[in-house]
């Protein structure tokens, strides 16, 4: 029934991330009234089961957002709210004209799709040395096949003087190339990237605050053990950000598999 799955608790309550406690309370009461059993607004359009499911989400959203501490924690986990918005380095507002579909009537910037390539490249160029991540080697140092012809006799360039790469650097370059070529974004790939970054699953639990069981289920693509879509979407976005992966692509890819599984397994309680 839902036209587009809400991506966070604010969307469930139709609020902005900067909503005041009073606004949260009003939105909660309004949402409850809309989907409660006797609401005339549901008539002929929304089934009782769908309304119940929405009510569950509304309750859960309110439980978190109405509690100052829990809301702060949730905002930080999901880079939401006033304190945890994407840093300037994260290119969520970048628009690449060459990736725009040929639309005759363009809306405002919010209507424009975030260009995955630009997003991706910028993310790759944001090594987080604090966490020991090293990404995106310069083009001149990328792995390439051996030249067929003898090297020219010209003086050696700066590049050619660089020391040989360590096995770890080669491994990281290899995973960078795989990330660049990735289209599926299954949980198993996220697990592979995590391992390549030498992050233990316990450490990832600490970094993302995602339950270990859910992390395992994501990496094993064991969709039956995952919670509702709205939470999974947040998990994947958080994982992607932590691993410095293009979050839009990762969420879109993973959720595509997850939604397909839900459609094929309608009796799994979602």
């Amino acid at each position: 029934m839902n036209f587009q799955t809400a991506t966070n608790y604010y969307e469930i309550l139709e609020l902005t991330e900067r909503a005041s406690p009073q606004e949260i309370r009003s939105a909660y009461l309004r949402a409850k009234a809309a989907y409660t059993k006797d609401s005339p607004a549901l008539y002929s359009l929304i089934s009782r089961e769908e309304a119940d499911s929405l009510l569950d989400q509304i309750e859960e959203a309110y439980q978190i957002l109405s509690n100052t501490e829990r809301r702060k924690e949730y905002d930080e986990q999901n880079s939401l709210g006033s304190g945890g918005h994407p840093t300037p380095a994260q290119p969520h507002r970048i628009v690449s004209i060459d990736r725009m579909p040929p639309m005759e009537a363009m809306g405002n910037e919010a209507d424009i799709l975030i260009p995955p390539t630009t997003d991706f490249q910028n993310d790759l160029r944001l090594p987080s040395k604090e966490r020991g991540f090293e990404f995106a080697p310069p083009a001149s140092t990328q792995l390439a096949p051996a030249p067929l012809a003898p090297a020219p006799t010209a003086p050696l360039t700066e590049t050619s003087k660089e020391p040989a790469l360590t096995p770890r650097e080669i491994e990281e370059q290899q995973i960078c190339l795989e990330i660049a070529a990735e289209t599926e974004w299954r949980g198993s790939f996220l697990g592979k990237v995590r391992k390549s970054r030498h992050i233990a699953i316990e450490e990832m639990t600490g970094l993302t605050r995602i339950n270990r069981g859910y992390l395992n289920a994501i990496e094993l693509d064991d969709y039956a053990k995952l919670p509702a879509s709205v939470f999974v979407r947040g998990f994947i976005a958080q994982l992607a950000r932590t691993l410095k992966l293009p979050a839009e692509k990762a969420v879109s890819g993973f959720m595509g598999h997850f939604q397909k599984w839900i459609l094929e397994n309608p009796n799994k309680g979602r």
Binding site: Y35, A41, P101, M103, G107
Partner: protein, 324 residues
């Protein structure tokens, strides 16, 4: 594979004359407002006539047009006797200009075109006449044109609604009214998608979706969105754009309690979840016995009971619409 055998609800798509026509040298119309709602008796004519009077009072030159073909009575709510010239003259004679059907209402700045004295079957307006009417109304010498649409979801009614700059859906806080309003919104929604030139590459999928028992399993707008995205992600982006531009206004009539007023917000929320649209809840009209009293006197409630709560709430809705 799209079900090619599914029969569309509507006639073949055509380009809806819309806002761009307003910029033609012959026209000065700033905006066309249309009042629909699906169900009869929800106050469409009351709302249309009251909005027209409210606009005229603000010194906007206004024309109210009764497009409730087959059930016209806008002239009565405006306190005008059965007019000599009506829309039927325009529709039956190709040499007859729409301007010649204008009738003075006796209210400064307000003229009307009545839909009374129509011929049997006029409710099913032929496409060429519909197009001619939609084009000519943009050329009228008026700041605002207010359309009073008929009940139901006939193709003409939906096209008139979609061609307006501001499309209002009038509802009552009752299940029957809400059911018909959803049906009306759904018809306009799919009609808008089916006539959008931006969505031609996925027109077959949209036509398939019009059949409620279609083979693709499209039972709701979210299903359609899924199928279109599956066919082409670019088409999915375009679909979202077209949907974002569909922004009907909602007016709750006969609100007796705060709960009644809140039903409007609930309808807005449900429409966001179900259709993915941002329904604009522009206001509510208080239940007021002034309405039936003025109807019996065949006088506009705006003039007969100028200090009533209803008139205050109509002025509020007008103000809200003008600010958009």
């Amino acid at each position: 594979m799209a079900n090619q055998d599914s029969r569309p609800i509507f006639p073949p798509p055509f380009t809806l004359p819309s806002a761009p026509i307003a910029s033609t040298p012959a026209g000065r119309v700033k905006q066309v407002w249309a009042v629909g709602g699906g169900k009869g008796g929800v106050g469409k004519s009351l709302l249309a006539s009251s909005l027209a009077i409210s606009l005229a009072r603000r010194n906007f030159k206004t024309v109210a047009i009764d497009l409730d073909l087959g059930g016209a009575n806008l002239h009565t709510t405006l306190g005008v006797d059965l007019p000599r010239h009506t829309l039927s003259d325009f529709l039956s004679r190709h040499d007859h200009s729409l301007k010649n059907s204008l009738v003075n209402t006796g209210i400064p700045n307000l003229e009307m075109i009545s839909g009374a004295k129509d011929s049997i079957g006029v409710a099913n307006l032929p496409m060429d006449q519909q197009t001619r009417l939609l084009q000519e109304l943009r050329t009228l010498d008026a700041d605002y044109v207010v359309l009073d649409l008929g009940a139901g979801t006939g193709a003409s009614t939906i096209d008139f609604f979609l061609s307006a700059d501001v499309g209002m859906v009038a509802i009552l806080p009752e299940p029957t009214s809400i059911e018909n309003a959803y049906r009306f919104i759904k018809s306009a929604y799919y009609r808008k998608l089916a006539t959008s030139s931006h969505l031609e590459p996925v027109a077959a999928i949209i036509q398939t979706a019009l059949d409620p028992n279609n083979s693709l399993g499209i039972r709701s707008p979210s299903d359609l969105f899924r199928e279109v995205n599956r066919a082409s992600q670019e088409a999915g982006v375009r679909l979202k754009e077209v949907i974002d531009r569909f922004q009907p206004r909602l007016v709750m009539n006969q609100a007796r309690t705060q709960t009644d007023i809140d039903v409007g917000f609930s309808v807005k929320s449900v429409c966001r979840k179900y259709f993915g649209i941002d329904l604009d809840y522009v206001g509510y009209l208080d239940y007021d016995s002034a309405v039936w009293q003025s109807v019996r006197r065949k006088r506009p409630v705006m003039l007969e009971f100028p200090n009533s709560r209803l008139v205050t709430s109509i002025e509020r809705v007008t103000e809200s619409l003008l600010k958009k």
